[in-house]
Structures are given as structure tokens and as C-alpha cells.
């Protein structure tokens, strides 16, 4: 339980931090796309017998890089790049899973999370990479903000917009791959987006919205963990449902 808590806290901090930059740029679909890709990573890990989180992180990073290159090259039309990766990776992972050891209950834990079975190595990996993500966001915050708000002005001022766009997607990739354990591949998108949208209802300044989103996310995760543990419910689903409750309350309290 203690390991689950630490892993949950780490994810709880980075998911909305990256999620904020995806939401304001309208890339919310990106998190789901990366989630499907990370599924493929887990499938590959099952095939070769390596640590699923590690392989998921690598696979998703590679895919993130590929997605940004394709989007930038303009050969493929806009959002369809995401559609290709989304369905393509799902198809690939179903094939690999069936080749590995047949579609079995192991799939449920990947789709919906299995934070209670997280190993010590898993936790260390998650915390280490989460620290990398946090440090990156903190150090690069002004430039990430500038690019998110206005790419052209950022470019004119000398900020390499393409680099920072790719960086955000890659940080999202890492976050998604790490979060499979906590809420599963199907619900990662929710964890990155819902606390952010809830925080935005309070109409605070941008940096404070990120802090509030982190608070909402941590509350959802911690209470979701305890609730699902004692009531024997699916952890991932419980966490996301609590996040939705927080969102609904935020929405109602801030009605204009």
C-alpha cells in the first residue's frame, strides 16, 4: 500500500502539470493516443519478458517523437496522425498480446491499472522519471508558457518552438507510460485532463491553476486508493470517478 501511495503521488503531480499544457493547446486527444501506444509497449514487454513500465516508456517516447515529426511534416493531415497511432497501436498490441500468451486477465490490469501490485523497482523508476518531468517543467516553464500562448511571437523572440512542442509531447509520453500502473491505459487521459479542467473552472491565473489541478489530482488519487482498497473496487476507475466529482463540484460552484 505504501508503494502504491508513493507511485500515486508521483503520478498525481506530473499528470496535471503536463496535462495543463495539452489542454490549453487542445491536444487532449494526445494523451489518449499516447496511452494506446504505451499499451503496445506493455505488450512488447510481455513478449520479451522485460519490465513493462520501462518498455512502455521507451515505446511511447519513440512514438511521441514520430508523431511530432509526422505532424510537422504536413504530409499527413492534422489530427489524422493521432488517429493512425491510436488505432494502429491498439491493433498491434492486441496481436502481440495474443502471440505472447493469449488475451488473459493480465490485460485488465494494463487497461485499468494495478497499482497495488507495483514492485519496488517500479516505484523507484516512477519516482525517478517523475522527478525528471517535474524538473523539466519547472526549469522550462516560462518558455513552455510562451510557446503555449503564442507560437509565432515565441519563435520571433528566439525560442525554438519546434523543440518545445516535441518536448511537451515526450514529457507527456513519459507521464502516460508511468501512469499505466496507477489508472491503466484506458484512463490515463482522464487523469491528465479532468483535474486540469476542474481547476480551470476556478478562473485563477495560469500557474495557480496548475497548482490547483495538482491538488485535485492528488486528492483523487489518495482518496481513490484508500476507498478502492477498503471497498475492494477497481482502483483506476475509483480515482477517475472522484476526479469527476471534483470537476462537477468545481463547475457548480463557479457557475456564471
Amino acid at each position: 500500500m505504501q508503494r502504491a501511495l508513493i507511485a500515486g503521488l508521483a503520478i498525481g503531480v506530473i499528470a496535471p502539470s503536463i496535462g495543463m499544457f495539452l489542454v490549453v493547446r487542445r491536444y487532449s486527444l494526445m494523451s489518449d493516443t499516447l496511452a494506446h501506444v504505451s499499451l503496445t509497449g506493455v505488450a512488447i514487454a510481455a513478449l520479451v519478458g522485460w519490465n513493462p513500465i520501462l518498455v512502455a516508456v521507451i515505446t511511447t517516447l519513440v512514438a511521441a517523437f514520430g508523431i511530432e515529426r509526422l505532424r510537422f511534416s504536413r504530409n499527413v493531415f492534422g489530427e489524422s496522425v493521432l488517429a493512425i497511432f491510436l488505432s494502429g497501436s491498439l491493433a498491434l498490441s492486441s496481436v502481440i498480446f495474443s502471440a505472447a500468451r493469449g488475451l488473459n486477465a493480465g490485460l485488465t490490469s494494463v487497461l485499468f491499472g494495478s497499482i497495488t501490485t507495483v514492485t519496488r523497482f517500479d516505484v523507484e523508476l516512477i519516482v525517478a522519471l517523475a522527478i525528471v518531468v517535474i524538473v523539466a517543467v519547472v526549469l522550462l516553464y516560462p518558455k513552455l508558457f510562451s510557446v503555449a500562448f503564442d507560437e509565432e511571437v515565441a519563435e520571433v523572440s528566439g525560442i525554438r518552438v519546434r523543440f518545445y512542442n516535441t518536448l511537451i509531447v515526450m514529457l507527456a509520453a513519459v507521464t502516460v507510460a508511468l501512469a499505466i500502473r496507477v489508472v491503466g491505459a484506458l484512463l490515463i487521459g482522464a487523469l491528465m485532463v479532468i483535474p486540469v479542467v476542474a481547476a480551470l473552472q476556478w478562473r485563477l491565473k495560469f500557474s495557480h491553476s496548475i497548482f490547483l489541478a495538482i491538488i485535485f489530482s492528488l486528492v483523487s488519487i489518495v482518496s481513490g486508493l484508500f476507498l478502492s482498497y477498503y471497498l475492494d473496487l477497481a482502483t483506476g476507475g475509483t480515482i477517475v470517478l472522484l476526479a469527476i466529482v471534483i470537476f462537477t463540484v468545481s463547475l457548480m460552484l463557479n457557475r456564471r
Partner: protein
């Protein structure tokens, strides 16, 4: 530093052409602008105004020819040199008005490119931001979300952002589209002040002949090629306007 040199033109286009597919969008454009110029770029839709502006800003690399800022090819400028260029894009740009940030956060972001790796704005940065907000008369709005501001107010915020890096050149793209006439007058009065008091070189693009005739000291007429370049009083003849707009237009120069 070449910016201290009074002889070097601030902006120089040397035989610049930009071609996307077959025909050049702008064709063998050459001109120089001096420190303290107040230039209006005039031309109908499709004349290449936007392309010219983006090439001037270094957002587009010319197919042939060289663009120089402060004597150096624009591609060779570093972030510190680029801070001397202020850019105010067209207000109507997707997503900008819906971005959940305060005026102060947005104005501060004008200094993001100048930060080192520490990733934090310094006290000096914040003082610059305060000064810029004061000059642009948006200081009382500093804690307001930009989503709650009027078109004219947003325009002033974007100007404040462009002023925060102490530019020597201010480039504006269609600055008063969608702004009512009353606010327009105040706006151009403000720009004239910047031009007079700080010797700020001003370049703005407009499709509005009235405004350009009234406000700009110098005019560049564009219709794929440079049709005119000179003091607005001399340049706006029926002849020139016909070449720019392709039909007989009475000269509408108001008294200066």
C-alpha cells in the same frame, strides 16, 4: 553592437523573393528602413503583406535574397539580439482569447526567451513587466484573465508584451482590425508617442488605406512587388493606388 550604429539600417530587404509553389508571393523586394521610421505597409489581400511581414520577422526564410536586422542576416540573430524586435500579431488568432492566463503572466512571457536555464523570472523582469504595463495603460488590469478583456484592451496587453524586452523595432500586423474607431485613435496616438519619445521604429501592416494615409510617415506599397516606398504625402497618388489596387482610386490623403 550594431544597434548603436546610426548608419546601419534597422531593417534591410535585399532582393528578397518568397515562392511557395510556382509564382513568387513576393518578388525581388528591396528596401531599407532607418531608425525612427514609422512605416505603413499597404496592399490588398493576396498582395503578399503577410508573407512580407513573416519574412521580416524571420518566420519565413526567403527563397532568394537576404533580410537583415540591425545589419545582420536575421537567421544569425541570437535571443538577445532578437529581443530588440517587438512583434504584435493580429489580435484575432485562434485560441488566444481563450487562454486562461492573467495580463501580468502574458506580459512577463515577453521576457521568456531571455531567461537562462534557471527558468525563473527575476525581480528585474517583473519590474520591466510593470513598466510595460504602465506604458500601455493596462496596469490596472494586471490580475485580470485575458479572457475577460475587450478587443482594445487585449491589443494593449499584446503591445505591453512586445515592449517588455525593450525593443528598438515594433512590428504590428493589422493592429486595429475589429477595433472601434474611437479606440483606434487612442491606439495610434499611443504608437505615435512610442515613435516620437523612444525613437522606436514602427512597421505596421494594414489593408486600411485611410489609417495608413493618416498615421504612417512613410509608406511601402505592396502588390507582389514593391510598388512604392516614400513619404505618405508624396506616395499616395491615384497612379500608385491604381497599381496597388488595380482600379482607379481617388487619392484620399488627409492633411498631415
Amino acid at each position: 553592437m550594431s544597434s548603436a550604429n546610426n548608419i546601419t539600417p534597422v531593417i534591410a530587404f535585399e532582393n528578397v523573393s518568397v515562392t511557395y509553389t510556382v509564382e513568387p508571393v513576393i518578388d525581388h523586394i528591396s528596401f531599407t528602413l532607418e531608425r525612427g521610421d514609422y512605416v505603413g505597409i499597404l496592399g490588398p489581400n493576396g498582395s503578399g503583406k503577410t508573407t512580407l511581414l513573416k519574412t521580416m520577422l524571420g518566420l519565413i526564410i526567403p527563397t532568394s535574397g537576404v533580410v537583415r536586422m540591425f545589419g545582420k542576416p536575421i537567421t544569425e540573430l541570437d535571443a538577445h539580439e532578437r529581443s530588440k524586435i517587438g512583434f504584435v500579431p493580429q489580435r484575432i488568432s485562434e485560441g488566444r482569447i481563450e487562454f486562461p492566463a492573467t495580463v501580468e503572466e502574458i506580459v512577463l512571457s515577453g521576457r521568456a526567451a531571455l531567461l537562462g536555464w534557471t527558468g525563473a523570472y527575476s525581480k528585474g523582469d517583473r519590474i520591466q513587466a510593470e513598466e510595460a504595463m504602465t506604458v500601455a495603460d493596462v496596469l490596472p488590469l494586471r490580475d485580470r484573465l485575458i479572457t475577460t478583456l475587450s478587443g482594445g484592451q487585449i491589443q494593449r496587453v499584446l503591445i505591453a508584451r512586445s515592449l517588455v524586452s525593450n525593443p528598438e523595432v515594433l512590428i504590428l500586423d493589422e493592429p486595429t482590425v475589429g477595433v472601434d474607431v474611437g479606440s483606434q485613435e487612442g491606439f495610434y496616438g499611443f504608437i505615435k508617442q512610442l515613435n516620437n519619445e523612444r525613437n522606436l521604429t514602427i512597421v505596421f501592416v494594414s489593408h486600411d488605406i485611410d489609417v495608413i494615409a493618416h498615421e504612417a510617415k512613410t509608406i511601402l506599397c505592396l502588390n507582389r512587388t514593391l510598388v512604392c516606398h516614400g513619404p505618405s504625402r508624396e506616395v499616395l497618388t491615384g497612379d500608385v493606388l491604381e497599381r496597388v489596387y488595380g482600379k482607379k482610386l481617388r487619392s484620399i490623403v488627409h492633411g498631415h
